[in-house]
Point group: C3
Chain length 385, copies 3
């Protein structure tokens, strides 16, 4: 049996209202997740990707992208160890020549025993794919997939929204990633960021929530993405100066550019920061479960463009400026903080040993919201079904 990765029973009994979030160590099931970038998948050149604990194989056939489980049904080896293809649209296992169709998963031939009664009787697990904005989205689940638009933040799929991004692996559970991103108090770690100073941003060191004002707004429409807005911009006083025993000990940056007015988190785990890192741009970033201890951090920047020239210009700007200054220069601190935070939550004790403060209300709202609206929990045994 796969080793259990879900939370210990005694922890689950203590988290009121967000039990399934604690159980979702491998992510949520029946959701769309981004995987590889379009540019990483060439025609007829399968690439492996680990999503929610499951090894996938992703390929492009006649321009269209397909995704199957990266494990032959016969003796369980990974196709990706030595991918073979003898006829367009098929995938042959290197071990005994079992051959499947990329689109349906159907076992259409066995090259070592052409008349086998098994042919036509098995279907390799396939996963629905949508390729949008240069990103390959995979639906990790069993049910008929909802529209991709239900699992990405508002505006991301807008026709005039140009998107560019980069992805890297982070050594923490995906939830530690989400909570780092959605956590307003964590801006303390960015106080010396070169982006803040170099780009003249207004960035406080923290927020003092106001009493009696709503700090979150939930979006629960049936027919659209589901997410939580952090309203701290209106519901809190920004803290620009910190004092200890009456002495000023730290201060934020009173830059002229106001950013991050609206911050929201969306199922299955996507942050939208608008505007960011400057007016007219939006950062959409995903924390995609690879396995229980790692997540892919997919950072994308979006900008509304009116024509191809603007699209190209933004592409150049993305590569020449924003990767170094913001996606690396600023967010590297977040990657570091998530990896530093992993140990405490790894064995689930952190969920009950943590001591929260006022700005964390937004995080707890997210936990409850995600527990209520997710379409299922990914479990270790799913990879054998």
């Amino acid at each position: 049996m796969p080793k259990p990765v879900s939370a210990a029973a005694n922890v689950l009994d203590k988290v009121k209202g967000w039990r399934s979030y604690v159980e979702a160590k491998l992510g949520f099931r029946n959701h769309w997740y981004p995987t590889l970038m379009s540019s990483e998948v060439s025609e007829g050149a399968p690439v492996t990707f680990k999503l929610c604990g499951e090894k996938l194989l992703i390929n492009r056939v006649d321009g269209k992208v397909f995704c199957v489980r990266d494990r032959c049904m016969h003796r369980g080896v990974n196709f990706s160890a030595r991918p073979e293809c003898y006829a367009k649209g098929t995938l042959t296992c290197w071990y005994h020549g079992w051959t499947y169709k990329w689109d349906t998963g159907e076992l259409v031939g066995i090259l070592t025993n052409p008349d086998s009664a098994q042919i036509g009787k098995h279907r390799l697990r396939t996963f629905p794919v949508e390729e949008r904005k240069g990103i390959i989205f995979v639906f990790m689940g069993d049910m008929a997939p909802p529209p991709l638009a239900h699992d990405v933040p508002p505006n991301f799929l807008d026709d005039d929204m140009a998107i560019f991004g980069k992805r890297r692996m982070v050594n923490s559970n995906w939830r530690v990633g989400v909570e780092n991103g959605f956590d307003s108090g964590h801006i303390w770690i960015h106080k010396n960021s070169i982006l803040v100073i170099g780009n003249d941003l207004a960035l406080p060191v923290g927020f003092a929530p106001l009493e009696g004002v709503a700090t979150t707004r939930l979006v629960e429409d049936e027919d659209g993405p589901k997410g939580v807005y952090d309203l701290l911009g209106n519901a809190a006083m920004p803290v620009f100066e910190s004092y200890l025993f009456g002495e000023k000990v730290a201060e934020g940056h009173f830059g002229s550019t106001r950013v991050a007015d609206t911050i929201s988190i969306w199922l299955p785990g996507v942050l939208k920061v608008d505007p960011w890192p400057q007016a007219g741009m939006i950062q959409f970033e995903w924390y995609v479960p690879a396995d229980e201890g790692c997540h892919y951090y997919l950072q994308t920047l979006g900008k509304q463009v009116n024509n191809d020239a603007e699209h190209k210009a933004f592409e150049r700007e993305f590569h020449d400026k924003w990767v170094a200054l913001s996606l690396d220069g600023f967010n590297n601190d977040d990657v570091w903080a998530r990896e530093a935070g992993e140990e405490f939550y790894k064995n689930d004790m952190g969920w009950i040993a943590e001591r929260l403060y006022e700005p964390d209300i937004a995080i707890v709202e997210w936990r409850k919201f995600a527990s209520k609206h997710n379409r299922g929990i990914q479990k270790p045994e799913h990879i054998y079904v």
Copy 2:
């Protein structure tokens, strides 16, 4: 307590007829296994070897080879960390001078307390040894050992059979090794082997079993080795051309040399391929459990010789030609495949998640046969008895 390595109960309940095979993660008990080569054990120079999860120490005294557990009974350290010997035929522990006889295991002295009442009261675990064909066989068990001839394939011990071999460690369970070797369909992976082309072998890409013809023959005599013959040579059509959607996509090699007419697998896990890699030669190969995740792959080639000159000539041929061309050049693909197959069976889920096809009947027969005829199952707790 040692961590359990036997299969999960829910898997065991689902494998009909070969439950004890699934339990035998550490190998079978009360069988002879090959360990070191004779040339590796010099007079008075103990060498350690891990067999079925147990650390052994093997030494030669006056030419005869002995084997004991590599762990002092007193405080449990490995003798092999710093083997000491102060009188011929004895082994002294480096820590407190406990001194045992290699032949009986008797505690004959304690150099730090010469009059200890413990002397003569304990016996270090010893294991029966047979040295044949340049290989040191050890009986891992408790019962009176049957003849070595009961645990090696027919012909291996023939007086006129010259044997040469090599051993290496493979990162998979021993059963993944056995099944790779005995699996007729796996020849697909060898289709581009330099041995096949360079030595002009006839090698199909697979086999199509015929209906109504026995595909295996069991050898269950009381007084001899126990094994399973794969009869595919007669019970199947060799597949020399593979088609997909009516197009030829791959082909075997129509060489002039017919080999591998008879393939058989023997307890406790030895393959015999006759003839191989050319007429007049036989490959005997063992998959020896080291621990749950590793096995030693011992490859030997046998040839009938009539005199010393022929014996010497075969030895030269073995080293000059067959190691590079066949044992490495051909079987390296098998080593690679076994390591690629380990993940699926490691947690025992593979035994029930696999989907077999017709040629795999031989493998299932072997599983049942081994479950029926093994003399016991090695368990983690055995190393404390």
Copy 3:
């Protein structure tokens, strides 16, 4: 939940009279342990140290040393990842600016939300500290600490006792360390030591206990350290020559300097060898649990001095001579032996599979004594309380 590190139930039921010793994998609770050397902790420069499975942070403020748990109460990150300090006597977490006092642990400010209701409501876990003889002792426990003098061997704290020492990490459980040190029979491993030969020590290869003579003496006074003396010096014949089958096979060193007349072991795990490594000097050495598989080996040498000049002279001698000749040259063998002994006791099977001999009586006495007199057992869950 933290993974259990205590012994398997079936082992515990079999160890008569020293069950809590077997349970104390992470050390004893409510005892003083040495941690860093004074010279390692400068003013305002926190250093991390792992004691009994707990990560500590140790700092010096206005000359006085303080110790807190190295984990912010808020989101559980280690302060030591990037220690911040904005006001003397405080420690600020790098993640959200939670700020604690080093002396009381009180949460005195949150720099990202200055008016948080959490301020003043939480106390970071602090641990009592005593700095003596150039060593920082920490009380790992919950109760009001007894005097440090109750947890160190006699004479260690004497006013005229000069102490110098060094510390290193050893890859074995702390108990394997203690038992190596207190074990009289282990001198067998030192028979070729350069210290013994170079310093002309009288060192036998073992001891033959006499019948009817007490081999240990227990010190159980309420108001002082608790320990066990090994009386083998009087209760045993030293073995200077070892024989096998009537032939002499090994011998000790008949040096002119008699040492190690009195050997004793003290709670929570400190050895005193007097005199050692020569007349007029004492070796005090600690085996300090870091986690279940590692201990710090703190070796100190003590010498009675009458004035500053003698103190300085001993310091020079310690560094110029004794570190290389004795602490390394002699005790390196012990470090090696402990690491070699870890495997057998790691899963607790060693405690019941070992076969002891007469000189081991002292070790068994220590196990019972420690089980009776310890003030508590450190458990994995303690780090969450």
